[in-house]
Symmetry: C2
Subunit: 186 residues, 2 copies
Protein backbone atom coordinates (compact mmCIF):
# COMPACT_ATOMS: atom_id res chain seq x y z
CA UNK A 1 0.00 0.00 0.00
CA UNK A 2 1.30 3.43 -0.97
CA UNK A 3 1.57 5.80 1.99
CA UNK A 4 0.70 9.43 1.36
CA UNK A 5 2.81 12.27 2.72
CA UNK A 6 2.87 13.43 5.44
CA UNK A 7 2.20 10.28 7.40
CA UNK A 8 -0.65 10.78 9.86
CA UNK A 9 -2.05 9.27 13.03
CA UNK A 10 -5.40 10.04 14.60
CA UNK A 11 -5.91 10.33 18.35
CA UNK A 12 -9.50 10.18 19.53
CA UNK A 13 -9.92 11.61 23.04
CA UNK A 14 -12.86 11.97 25.40
CA UNK A 15 -14.59 8.78 24.30
CA UNK A 16 -17.48 7.74 26.54
CA UNK A 17 -18.21 4.02 26.17
CA UNK A 18 -21.76 3.36 25.11
CA UNK A 19 -22.69 6.90 24.20
CA UNK A 20 -19.80 7.52 21.78
CA UNK A 21 -19.43 4.03 20.39
CA UNK A 22 -20.73 4.74 16.92
CA UNK A 23 -19.16 8.18 16.52
CA UNK A 24 -15.76 6.85 17.58
CA UNK A 25 -16.15 3.91 15.20
CA UNK A 26 -16.79 6.42 12.40
CA UNK A 27 -13.66 8.35 13.45
CA UNK A 28 -11.67 5.12 13.27
CA UNK A 29 -13.07 4.14 9.88
CA UNK A 30 -12.44 7.60 8.46
CA UNK A 31 -8.86 7.39 9.75
CA UNK A 32 -8.39 4.13 7.85
CA UNK A 33 -10.26 5.18 4.69
CA UNK A 34 -8.63 8.61 4.39
CA UNK A 35 -5.05 7.46 4.58
CA UNK A 36 -3.99 7.66 8.22
CA UNK A 37 -1.45 5.08 9.37
CA UNK A 38 -2.39 4.99 13.05
CA UNK A 39 -5.51 5.18 15.16
CA UNK A 40 -5.30 5.73 18.92
CA UNK A 41 -8.22 5.74 21.34
CA UNK A 42 -7.19 7.34 24.61
CA UNK A 43 -8.08 6.34 28.17
CA UNK A 44 -10.43 3.47 27.39
CA UNK A 45 -10.38 0.34 25.25
CA UNK A 46 -13.89 0.08 23.87
CA UNK A 47 -14.04 -3.40 22.45
CA UNK A 48 -17.01 -2.61 20.20
CA UNK A 49 -15.00 0.05 18.37
CA UNK A 50 -11.97 -2.20 17.97
CA UNK A 51 -14.13 -5.09 16.79
CA UNK A 52 -15.78 -2.97 14.07
CA UNK A 53 -12.42 -1.72 12.89
CA UNK A 54 -10.95 -5.22 12.81
CA UNK A 55 -13.93 -6.51 10.86
CA UNK A 56 -13.57 -3.80 8.22
CA UNK A 57 -9.83 -4.37 7.91
CA UNK A 58 -10.39 -8.07 7.45
CA UNK A 59 -13.00 -7.58 4.70
CA UNK A 60 -11.77 -4.50 2.85
CA UNK A 61 -8.04 -4.70 3.40
CA UNK A 62 -5.46 -3.50 5.81
CA UNK A 63 -5.27 0.29 5.96
CA UNK A 64 -3.85 1.09 9.36
CA UNK A 65 -0.36 0.09 10.35
CA UNK A 66 -1.36 -0.06 13.96
CA UNK A 67 -4.11 0.82 16.39
CA UNK A 68 -3.85 1.21 20.11
CA UNK A 69 -6.03 2.16 23.04
CA UNK A 70 -6.09 2.82 26.75
CA UNK A 71 -3.16 5.13 27.41
CA UNK A 72 -3.75 8.68 28.60
CA UNK A 73 -4.15 11.25 25.84
CA UNK A 74 -1.17 13.30 27.01
CA UNK A 75 0.93 10.16 26.86
CA UNK A 76 0.02 9.58 23.19
CA UNK A 77 0.76 13.22 22.43
CA UNK A 78 4.10 13.32 24.24
CA UNK A 79 5.21 9.98 22.77
CA UNK A 80 4.43 11.25 19.29
CA UNK A 81 6.35 14.45 19.89
CA UNK A 82 9.32 12.63 21.40
CA UNK A 83 9.59 10.69 18.14
CA UNK A 84 9.82 13.97 16.23
CA UNK A 85 6.19 14.23 15.15
CA UNK A 86 3.91 17.25 15.08
CA UNK A 87 0.47 17.62 16.60
CA UNK A 88 -2.64 19.20 15.08
CA UNK A 89 -5.80 19.55 17.14
CA UNK A 90 -9.05 19.91 15.20
CA UNK A 91 -11.48 22.30 16.90
CA UNK A 92 -14.12 24.76 15.80
CA UNK A 93 -12.09 27.43 17.64
CA UNK A 94 -8.90 26.87 15.65
CA UNK A 95 -7.13 28.69 12.84
CA UNK A 96 -8.85 28.32 9.47
CA UNK A 97 -8.10 25.23 7.42
CA UNK A 98 -7.12 27.39 4.48
CA UNK A 99 -4.46 29.24 6.47
CA UNK A 100 -3.22 26.11 8.24
CA UNK A 101 -2.88 23.46 5.58
CA UNK A 102 0.32 24.72 3.97
CA UNK A 103 1.90 25.10 7.40
CA UNK A 104 0.99 21.51 8.24
CA UNK A 105 2.50 20.27 4.98
CA UNK A 106 5.55 22.37 5.71
CA UNK A 107 6.18 20.49 8.96
CA UNK A 108 7.62 17.66 6.87
CA UNK A 109 7.00 15.41 9.86
CA UNK A 110 4.44 12.79 10.79
CA UNK A 111 1.31 14.55 12.01
CA UNK A 112 -0.86 13.41 14.90
CA UNK A 113 -4.40 14.69 14.42
CA UNK A 114 -6.27 15.00 17.70
CA UNK A 115 -10.08 14.91 17.65
CA UNK A 116 -12.11 15.36 20.78
CA UNK A 117 -15.61 14.73 21.95
CA UNK A 118 -17.58 17.55 23.56
CA UNK A 119 -15.13 19.11 26.01
CA UNK A 120 -11.41 19.12 25.28
CA UNK A 121 -8.99 20.02 28.10
CA UNK A 122 -6.96 23.19 27.72
CA UNK A 123 -3.68 21.25 27.87
CA UNK A 124 -4.53 19.73 24.47
CA UNK A 125 -4.89 23.18 22.90
CA UNK A 126 -1.52 24.08 24.39
CA UNK A 127 0.26 20.87 23.46
CA UNK A 128 -0.83 21.11 19.82
CA UNK A 129 1.55 22.79 17.39
CA UNK A 130 -1.53 24.29 15.85
CA UNK A 131 -5.27 24.20 16.49
CA UNK A 132 -7.17 24.01 13.20
CA UNK A 133 -10.83 24.60 12.46
CA UNK A 134 -12.80 23.05 9.63
CA UNK A 135 -15.22 25.93 9.62
CA UNK A 136 -15.99 27.86 12.80
CA UNK A 137 -19.38 26.27 13.30
CA UNK A 138 -20.21 23.29 15.48
CA UNK A 139 -20.66 20.13 13.46
CA UNK A 140 -18.83 16.82 13.80
CA UNK A 141 -15.37 15.49 14.58
CA UNK A 142 -16.00 12.82 11.94
CA UNK A 143 -16.62 15.48 9.31
CA UNK A 144 -13.72 17.65 10.46
CA UNK A 145 -11.27 14.75 10.26
CA UNK A 146 -12.44 13.67 6.81
CA UNK A 147 -12.28 17.15 5.31
CA UNK A 148 -8.89 17.83 6.91
CA UNK A 149 -7.39 14.63 5.49
CA UNK A 150 -9.04 15.21 2.10
CA UNK A 151 -7.44 18.65 1.88
CA UNK A 152 -4.09 17.46 3.25
CA UNK A 153 -3.87 14.64 0.73
CA UNK A 154 -5.51 16.55 -2.15
CA UNK A 155 -8.12 13.87 -2.70
CA UNK A 156 -5.50 11.20 -3.46
CA UNK A 157 -6.56 9.30 -0.34
CA UNK A 158 -9.78 8.28 -2.08
CA UNK A 159 -7.81 6.02 -4.45
CA UNK A 160 -5.63 4.09 -2.03
CA UNK A 161 -5.45 0.35 -2.73
CA UNK A 162 -5.70 -1.71 0.43
CA UNK A 163 -3.67 -4.87 0.78
CA UNK A 164 -5.41 -8.10 1.66
CA UNK A 165 -8.90 -6.98 0.67
CA UNK A 166 -11.34 -9.84 0.21
CA UNK A 167 -13.67 -7.57 -1.76
CA UNK A 168 -13.13 -4.53 -3.98
CA UNK A 169 -15.80 -2.14 -5.27
CA UNK A 170 -15.98 -1.03 -8.85
CA UNK A 171 -17.53 2.46 -8.93
CA UNK A 172 -20.98 2.50 -10.51
CA UNK A 173 -23.59 5.19 -11.22
CA UNK A 174 -26.58 2.96 -10.60
CA UNK A 175 -25.88 -0.25 -8.74
CA UNK A 176 -23.47 -2.25 -6.63
CA UNK A 177 -20.53 -3.96 -8.26
CA UNK A 178 -18.36 -5.83 -5.80
CA UNK A 179 -15.47 -7.94 -6.99
CA UNK A 180 -14.47 -10.71 -4.68
CA UNK A 181 -11.36 -12.88 -4.94
CA UNK A 182 -13.46 -15.59 -6.63
CA UNK A 183 -15.16 -13.42 -9.21
CA UNK A 184 -17.83 -10.76 -9.50
CA UNK A 185 -21.05 -10.38 -7.53
CA UNK A 186 -23.82 -7.97 -8.39
CA UNK B 1 -27.12 34.72 4.62
CA UNK B 2 -25.55 34.10 1.21
CA UNK B 3 -26.73 30.85 -0.38
CA UNK B 4 -24.18 28.87 -2.33
CA UNK B 5 -24.98 27.32 -5.70
CA UNK B 6 -26.43 24.81 -6.30
CA UNK B 7 -28.89 24.87 -3.44
CA UNK B 8 -28.87 21.59 -1.53
CA UNK B 9 -31.05 19.58 0.81
CA UNK B 10 -30.01 16.53 2.80
CA UNK B 11 -32.25 13.51 3.30
CA UNK B 12 -31.23 11.15 6.07
CA UNK B 13 -32.82 7.71 5.68
CA UNK B 14 -32.75 4.53 7.74
CA UNK B 15 -32.48 6.28 11.10
CA UNK B 16 -32.99 3.96 14.08
CA UNK B 17 -34.00 5.95 17.16
CA UNK B 18 -31.63 5.45 20.05
CA UNK B 19 -28.90 3.70 18.15
CA UNK B 20 -28.46 6.37 15.44
CA UNK B 21 -29.26 9.45 17.49
CA UNK B 22 -25.78 10.88 17.59
CA UNK B 23 -24.78 9.97 14.02
CA UNK B 24 -27.97 11.50 12.65
CA UNK B 25 -27.40 14.62 14.75
CA UNK B 26 -23.93 14.89 13.19
CA UNK B 27 -25.48 14.51 9.72
CA UNK B 28 -27.91 17.33 10.55
CA UNK B 29 -25.17 19.61 11.92
CA UNK B 30 -22.95 18.97 8.91
CA UNK B 31 -25.89 19.82 6.65
CA UNK B 32 -26.27 23.15 8.41
CA UNK B 33 -22.55 23.94 8.70
CA UNK B 34 -21.67 22.98 5.13
CA UNK B 35 -24.26 25.12 3.41
CA UNK B 36 -27.32 22.94 2.86
CA UNK B 37 -30.68 24.71 2.97
CA UNK B 38 -32.83 21.77 4.05
CA UNK B 39 -32.54 18.77 6.32
CA UNK B 40 -35.07 15.93 6.13
CA UNK B 41 -35.21 12.91 8.43
CA UNK B 42 -37.37 10.21 6.88
CA UNK B 43 -39.85 7.86 8.55
CA UNK B 44 -39.33 8.94 12.15
CA UNK B 45 -39.25 12.19 14.08
CA UNK B 46 -36.50 11.70 16.63
CA UNK B 47 -36.99 14.56 19.05
CA UNK B 48 -33.43 14.34 20.39
CA UNK B 49 -32.02 15.06 16.93
CA UNK B 50 -34.38 17.95 16.32
CA UNK B 51 -33.69 19.41 19.76
CA UNK B 52 -29.91 19.38 19.19
CA UNK B 53 -30.31 21.04 15.83
CA UNK B 54 -32.65 23.69 17.22
CA UNK B 55 -30.24 24.43 20.06
CA UNK B 56 -27.33 24.94 17.66
CA UNK B 57 -29.39 27.16 15.38
CA UNK B 58 -30.43 29.29 18.32
CA UNK B 59 -26.86 29.75 19.58
CA UNK B 60 -24.82 29.89 16.38
CA UNK B 61 -27.32 31.33 13.92
CA UNK B 62 -29.86 30.14 11.47
CA UNK B 63 -28.38 28.02 8.71
CA UNK B 64 -31.18 25.84 7.46
CA UNK B 65 -34.23 27.29 5.78
CA UNK B 66 -36.32 24.38 6.92
CA UNK B 67 -36.16 20.96 8.48
CA UNK B 68 -38.77 18.26 8.36
CA UNK B 69 -39.23 14.69 9.53
CA UNK B 70 -41.52 11.71 9.47
CA UNK B 71 -42.53 11.30 5.83
CA UNK B 72 -41.43 8.25 3.88
CA UNK B 73 -38.11 8.56 2.12
CA UNK B 74 -39.61 7.98 -1.33
CA UNK B 75 -42.07 10.76 -0.66
CA UNK B 76 -39.24 13.23 0.07
CA UNK B 77 -37.44 12.09 -3.08
CA UNK B 78 -40.49 12.28 -5.35
CA UNK B 79 -41.56 15.66 -3.94
CA UNK B 80 -38.08 17.04 -4.58
CA UNK B 81 -38.10 15.71 -8.15
CA UNK B 82 -41.60 17.01 -8.82
CA UNK B 83 -40.31 20.50 -7.97
CA UNK B 84 -37.59 20.11 -10.59
CA UNK B 85 -34.75 19.08 -8.30
CA UNK B 86 -32.09 16.42 -8.81
CA UNK B 87 -31.14 13.59 -6.49
CA UNK B 88 -27.67 12.37 -5.52
CA UNK B 89 -27.26 9.31 -3.33
CA UNK B 90 -23.97 8.99 -1.46
CA UNK B 91 -22.79 5.40 -1.24
CA UNK B 92 -19.48 3.58 -1.20
CA UNK B 93 -20.66 1.74 -4.34
CA UNK B 94 -21.22 4.90 -6.39
CA UNK B 95 -19.35 6.65 -9.18
CA UNK B 96 -16.21 8.42 -8.01
CA UNK B 97 -16.56 11.91 -6.57
CA UNK B 98 -14.02 13.21 -9.04
CA UNK B 99 -16.04 12.01 -12.05
CA UNK B 100 -19.38 13.07 -10.56
CA UNK B 101 -18.87 16.54 -9.21
CA UNK B 102 -18.90 18.43 -12.51
CA UNK B 103 -22.00 16.55 -13.58
CA UNK B 104 -23.74 17.52 -10.35
CA UNK B 105 -22.80 21.17 -10.85
CA UNK B 106 -24.02 20.91 -14.42
CA UNK B 107 -27.52 19.94 -13.25
CA UNK B 108 -28.09 23.64 -12.49
CA UNK B 109 -30.90 22.49 -10.22
CA UNK B 110 -31.36 22.14 -6.47
CA UNK B 111 -29.74 18.89 -5.35
CA UNK B 112 -31.14 16.51 -2.75
CA UNK B 113 -28.31 14.53 -1.18
CA UNK B 114 -29.48 11.22 0.24
CA UNK B 115 -27.43 9.58 2.99
CA UNK B 116 -28.36 6.23 4.42
CA UNK B 117 -27.57 4.15 7.43
CA UNK B 118 -26.37 0.59 7.00
CA UNK B 119 -28.74 -0.88 4.42
CA UNK B 120 -30.22 1.31 1.70
CA UNK B 121 -33.12 -0.06 -0.38
CA UNK B 122 -32.50 -0.64 -4.08
CA UNK B 123 -35.24 1.83 -5.04
CA UNK B 124 -33.08 4.65 -3.68
CA UNK B 125 -30.20 3.68 -5.98
CA UNK B 126 -32.66 3.68 -8.87
CA UNK B 127 -34.43 6.91 -7.96
CA UNK B 128 -31.15 8.82 -7.71
CA UNK B 129 -29.94 10.67 -10.79
CA UNK B 130 -26.50 9.52 -9.79
CA UNK B 131 -24.98 7.43 -7.02
CA UNK B 132 -21.72 8.97 -5.84
CA UNK B 133 -18.94 7.50 -3.72
CA UNK B 134 -16.58 9.44 -1.52
CA UNK B 135 -13.97 6.76 -1.82
CA UNK B 136 -14.92 3.12 -2.33
CA UNK B 137 -14.18 2.12 1.24
CA UNK B 138 -16.62 1.85 4.11
CA UNK B 139 -16.37 4.83 6.47
CA UNK B 140 -19.11 7.24 7.49
CA UNK B 141 -22.13 9.00 6.05
CA UNK B 142 -21.14 12.03 8.12
CA UNK B 143 -17.73 12.12 6.45
CA UNK B 144 -19.12 11.44 2.98
CA UNK B 145 -21.62 14.28 3.26
CA UNK B 146 -19.02 16.77 4.52
CA UNK B 147 -16.46 15.96 1.83
CA UNK B 148 -19.13 16.00 -0.88
CA UNK B 149 -20.38 19.45 0.15
CA UNK B 150 -16.82 20.75 0.60
CA UNK B 151 -15.97 19.73 -2.97
CA UNK B 152 -19.29 20.94 -4.38
CA UNK B 153 -18.89 24.37 -2.80
CA UNK B 154 -15.12 24.58 -3.25
CA UNK B 155 -14.53 25.28 0.42
CA UNK B 156 -16.61 28.46 0.37
CA UNK B 157 -19.11 26.84 2.74
CA UNK B 158 -16.59 27.18 5.57
CA UNK B 159 -16.99 30.96 5.54
CA UNK B 160 -20.76 31.33 5.57
CA UNK B 161 -22.07 33.97 7.98
CA UNK B 162 -25.12 32.80 9.90
CA UNK B 163 -27.88 35.22 10.70
CA UNK B 164 -29.05 35.62 14.26
CA UNK B 165 -25.95 34.09 15.87
CA UNK B 166 -25.60 34.88 19.55
CA UNK B 167 -21.92 33.94 19.43
CA UNK B 168 -19.26 34.07 16.71
CA UNK B 169 -15.83 32.45 16.82
CA UNK B 170 -12.67 34.24 15.84
CA UNK B 171 -10.20 31.67 14.49
CA UNK B 172 -7.20 31.18 16.77
CA UNK B 173 -4.06 29.01 16.68
CA UNK B 174 -3.90 28.47 20.42
CA UNK B 175 -7.06 29.25 22.34
CA UNK B 176 -10.76 29.97 22.21
CA UNK B 177 -11.97 33.39 21.17
CA UNK B 178 -15.73 33.70 21.16
CA UNK B 179 -17.42 36.99 20.47
CA UNK B 180 -20.86 37.35 21.92
CA UNK B 181 -23.32 40.14 21.22
CA UNK B 182 -22.24 41.81 24.48
CA UNK B 183 -18.49 41.67 23.92
CA UNK B 184 -15.61 39.21 23.91
CA UNK B 185 -15.07 36.17 26.11
CA UNK B 186 -11.85 34.20 26.26
Amino acid sequence: MVRLEPETGVLRIGHRPGRDKRITTHVALVSRAFGASYFFLSDVCDISVLRSLAYIEDMWGKGLKHFSCGLGYMRYISDWKSLGGKVVHLTMYGETLEKSIEEVRGFKRPVLIVVGAEKVPREVYEAADINVSVGNQPHSEVAALAVFLDRLYNGEELYIQYEGARAVIEPSRKGKIVKSMGGENQ
